[in-house]
Amino acid sequence: MAETGLDLLRGTLDVLVMKSLSWGPLHGYGVAEWIGRRTGEELLVEEGALYPALHRLEKRGLVESEWGLSENNRRARYYQLTADGRRSLLRESALWRRYRDAVDRVLSAVEA
């Protein structure tokens, strides 16, 4: 697992990747760009870590891939969310929000 500023958990990266694909198919570089832009390069320090995540998701049937031509006419592998992937993304996002809220409440608590 790549070292990140916030020590990204494996499951977190999977959710982020699926989220990035929820607007349409992207190649691996596109996913890295999308995540980078949204997080200000905070979360994804080693971009190579995306690929095991993508392959893992493909194996679980949450994304599927095929080769196509990129914007500048190069062969690139495009990933796309499957129906299962969409359902999983909804579930995982909800989970993450609850987790974030819980952690948030703990951290912002004032000594009573």
């Binding site: 790549a2 349409g24 198919p25 190649h27 691996g28 570089y29 890295a32 320090v45 080693e46 971009e47 190579g48 870590a49 690929y51 095991p52 392959h55 893992r56 493909e58 194996k59 599927e64 095929e66 080769w67 196509g68 031509l69 990129s70 190069r74 062969r75 690139a76 592998r77 495009y78 796309q80």
Partner: protein
């Protein structure tokens, strides 16, 4: 491959782990390049940008390792999916390709279906007769046991059977059986029913229990206690309406009441005699003492651990001991122990296997023909193949595609073949000679259908192999440059080879058919020794229960004969124990007076017990002396007539007339009863035309030996000669016999002409089938040659045009095309001759009066084949003469 995202997803997974790894490399390379390009746009120096991009990507080897671990089993599954996908794709493609040339596809399918149908039909027969297990328990342990007579298995005497049963340890069960046709009376017409007398253990030998009721007990297998009968399922259904309450009731058999105790399961007929009922043998002590009347079948179930060889050794020792005790001296005897299944099908195995082999040859010819058709199509498609190869289709994949086409072709071929086989089996069963064991069971059961399906697939792949390999080996560049017409000489060589194979195989078939036909012609010329036309015969049996005394039997037959003579249209009538072609064996030992008894001195000869008119009725040639007269009655000096062969064997150097011969009664070495030879008549062929005349002798009915009626079981054949249609006499004869005894059924009614025909039926059947197969093979070969030459003309249109433009005449063009067939034809004839000489040996037992290497047959077959082959190539070659050079060459 510009691709609208997610619109059309061609599901193409990479096939291997290596391919997946390659894809990952490409993915990572793309990523790094894009990142570097982006950095350059931000103003980075290109080299620095590349290094920064790699830094941001991180450790590629970790990514590789992790991805490989994830993809590993995906690769495995992908491989399988890929294969399935390709297979389905090939099937669709193949079906489309075949549909594109419907006429050619139909022709190929029909050709294959003919071969498959014929082969399956014959296999259906072979399976039923030779291969399917008998419906008995552990058939491999059930054996037929025979005594020995001059090295051949012979029927067993009661005495021998009893000793074997008492002393042998090799058998779990041993039983004796004897054919016993009986008169079944009451409930309508008296009926003659074939039956078997069997000892109580008979059913246990086969391990088959009755369907209803029980078999005989040992107590019922005693004289006087034997008033019981077991019925066949068929008789029970046919005559008694499958009435269960028949068990325990009485039926009248040969005038005696017997209680029905059991009904056997359907199809129980392990000895293939077609018995409809079984009676207890009930040997008397007297019967069991007889060593010299060999009239019983003996069957046994080998004890666990005992082998047939051990059993044979043991039985031989017992018989030898017995003979030595009976005859005070050194006597070596032999026994034969033969598997019951083997014994049952023995006479049919070779014939059936010859047919199966012949039909397999036809199938191979059909395959060669289809291969030829596919080659022709392959030539037309060489351009398509070339393009596929040029686009990177691996050769392996092309071969697979073409083989898939052949496999798809197998589907209609198999279906049509099965239909033909169903018709064929039924036709074969209907046409086949009677008495082939288990033939009626033949049909398209599961193993036969499975055989047909495998055969279809095999045949289609065989037919498709040559064209597929040829297409894959083709040079795409050459094919593309030259177009579809430039397929080159290699393909011609392959087609020539196929034609040669067809010619050779047809030759083998035709030689076989030719030999059998010649043999049939020879047989038709054989003189059976009597006048076949205008003779009618019927058989009658006087049951011992109502005719216990020999004198009574003789008197009754005398009355029947008198009654038959008065029937209008009958010009002569006689009685005999065996009419010619009536089957059966009634051999007796003859010993000339004054010759010391030894087995070598005794001449085994077929006994004919006849009324005096028999010689005239049958039309036998009287060679010397006289035949019988009314004066040769009981009490008069005993007379006998010998056949020519018997006379020569008994008295090689002297005149037979006036000599005295011991036979049939008394004992030859102690107290012989001598008979005086009064005449010598011509030989007859008593069983069939192909078997050389055996020794025969005749005794007057009025002087029948006292035991004769027991040997004959009160059975005689009535023979009448007429100038009108013999069959029309049957009702009047029936009435005449009924006036003497209304309960006496007539059976085995037939003309001697029919009998002669029937005795030849198996040979004729094989000849017919082999001739049909030979004709089909010849036709297929002719079609193959026609197709090859026609295709050759199409291919060489340009060459022919050039030659004609240079001054060749149409005759030259035709000759050029025909000449191209000659090498293939010559090769085929040469190979075929060699194969026919080798294969002809299997016909050894079926060919009569013609040498296996009959030059006339071979010459005729070669001439016919060559003529047909040349005609088949001349027809399409004439098209070459019609080639229009101007039109063809202007297209260039």
């Amino acid at each position: 491959m510009a691709r609208p995202h997610g619109v059309r997803r061609l599901f193409r997974w990479p096939t291997s782990r290596q391919a997946l790894a390659d894809e990952l490399e490409a993915e990572m390379a793309f990523h790094v390049e894009r990142r570097a390009a982006a950095l350059v746009e931000e103003g980075w120096d290109p080299e620095a940008a590349r290094q920064e991009a790699q830094r941001r990507f991180g450790d590629a080897s970790t990514v590789r390792r992790e991805c490989d671990a994830i993809d590993r089993d995906r690769a495995r599954r992908a491989g399988l999916a890929d294969a399935l996908h390709d297979g389905a794709h090939d099937l669709r493609l193949a079906a489309r390709q075949l549909a594109r040339t419907p006429a050619l596809t139909a022709l190929a399918a029909v050709t294959l279906a003919l071969g498959i149908g014929a082969t399956t039909a014959i296999y259906g027969i072979v399976h039923a007769v030779l291969l399917s297990p008998l419906p008995i328990d552990e058939p491999e342990r059930v054996v037929s046991v025979w005594e020995d007579w001059e090295g051949e298995p012979a029927s067993v005497s009661a005495g021998n059977y009893a000793e074997w049963r008492r002393h042998s340890r090799s058998f779990a069960e041993l039983a004796a059986a004897r054919g016993a046709s009986v008169n079944l009376a009451g409930d309508g017409e008296p009926e003659r029913v074939p039956g078997l007398r069997v000892t109580a253990a008979y059913f246990d030998v086969f391990g088959v229990a009755p369907r209803l009721g029980r078999a005989f007990t040992a107590a019922e297998d005693q004289p006087g206690e034997d008033g019981v009968v077991v019925l066949s399922h068929e008789l029970w259904s046919r005559r008694f309406g499958a009435d269960r309450s028949l068990l325990g009731r009485e039926v009248r058999i040969d005038g005696r009441r017997r209680t029905v105790v059991g009904v056997m399961p359907p199809g129980f007929d392990p000895l293939a005699g077609g018995p409809e009922l079984w009676l207890p043998m009930a040997f008397s002590a007297e019967d069991l003492a007889r060593l010299d009347e060999h009239s019983f079948w003996t069957v046994g179930r080998l004890a666990p651990g005992a082998s047939a060889d051990q059993a044979r050794e043991e039985l031989r020792a017992i018989s030898t001991r017995l003979q030595e005790a009976a005859h005070d001296g050194q006597r070596e005897t032999e026994a034969h122990v033969i598997g019951v299944v083997e014994a049952l099908v023995e006479g049919y195995r070779t014939r059936l296997l010859v047919l199966l082999g012949a039909v397999a040859l036809v199938l191979v010819i059909a395959c060669a023909n289809v291969a030829n058709l596919l080659l022709a199509r392959g030539a037309a498609r060489s351009r398509e193949m070339a393009i596929r190869t040029a686009l990177g289709s691996p050769r392996r994949r092309l071969v697979r595609m073409l083989l898939t086409e052949s496999a798809v072709l197998a589907v209609p071929a198999a279906l049509l073949g099965l239909v033909l086989a169903a018709v064929g089996v039924r036709a074969l069963v209907a046409l086949a000679p009677p008495d082939v064991p288990r033939l009626s069971e033949a049909g398209l059961d599961a193993p036969v259908v499975a055989f047909a399906l495998l055969l279809s697939l095999g045949a289609c792949l065989l037919a498709g192999l040559a064209p597929a390999l040829r297409a894959a080996r083709g040079n795409p560049q050459q094919a593309l440059v030259e177009g579809s017409a430039g397929a080159g000489g290699g393909r011609d060589r392959m087609r020539g080879g196929l034609v040669a194979a067809e010619v050779g195989l047809s030759l083998v078939l035709l030689v076989g058919a030719g030999l059998l036909i010649r043999s049939g012609i020879e047989l038709a010329r054989v003189d059976p020794g009597f006048d076949v036309d205008g003779l009618l015969t019927v058989r009658m049996s006087l049951p011992a229960s109502r005719y216990p005394e020999p004198a009574q039997i003789a008197a009754t037959f005398e009355q029947i004969l008198e009654a038959a003579r008065t029937v209008p249209g009958v010009s002569a009538a006689s009685l005999t124990n065996r009419v010619p072609m009536g089957g059966g064996d009634s051999s007796n030992g003859l010993l000339p007076e004054g010759v010391a008894f030894s087995q070598e001195a005794v001449v085994q000869s077929q006994m004919r017990l006849v009324s005096p008119e028999h010689f005239a009725t049958l039309g036998l040639d009287l060679l010397r002396g006289r035949t019988f007269t009314a004066a040769d009655r009981a009490g008069a000096p005993r007379a006998m007539v010998l056949s020519e062969t018997t006379a020569r064997r008994l008295f090689p150097d002297e005149e037979a007339i006036g000599q005295r011969v011991a036979c049939c009664e008394g004992t030859p070495d102690g107290d012989p009863v001598l008979k005086t030879v009064v005449g010598v008549v011509g030989d007859t062929r008593p069983w069939n035309l192909a078997t050389e005349p055996p020794p025969e002798f005749y005794l007057p009915l009025a002087q029948a030996p006292p035991d004769a009626w027991r040997w004959l079981q009160g059975t005689m054949d009535l023979l009448v000669r007429t100038d009108i249609q013999p069959e029309t006499l049957v009702p009047a004869l029936r009435d005449a016999v009924a006036r003497v005894d209304p309960e006496l059924p007539l059976y085995d009614v037939s003309t001697l002409e029919e009998r002669v025909g029937q005795s030849m039926a198996p040979a004729r059947f094989n000849t017919f089938l082999l001739t049909v197969l030979g004709a089909v093979g010849l036709l297929l070969a002719a079609i193959g040659i026609y197709g090859t030459v026609a295709h050759g003309v199409e291919q060489r249109r340009r060459e022919i045009s050039v030659r004609m433009a240079m001054g060749a005449t149409p005759r030259h063009a035709v000759r050029l095309m025909v000449r191209r067939t000659v090498p293939a034809l010559a090769l085929g004839l040469a190979l075929g001759l060699a194969a026919a000489v080798a294969a002809g040996r299997v016909l050894e037992d079926q060919v009569y009066g013609v040498p296996l290497a009959d030059p006339a047959t071979y010459a005729a077959v070669v001439a016919v084949l060559a003529a047909v082959a040349l005609a088949a190539s001349l027809l399409p070659a004439r098209r070459a003469a019609r080639v229009d050079p101007a039109a063809t060459l202007s297209k260039l």
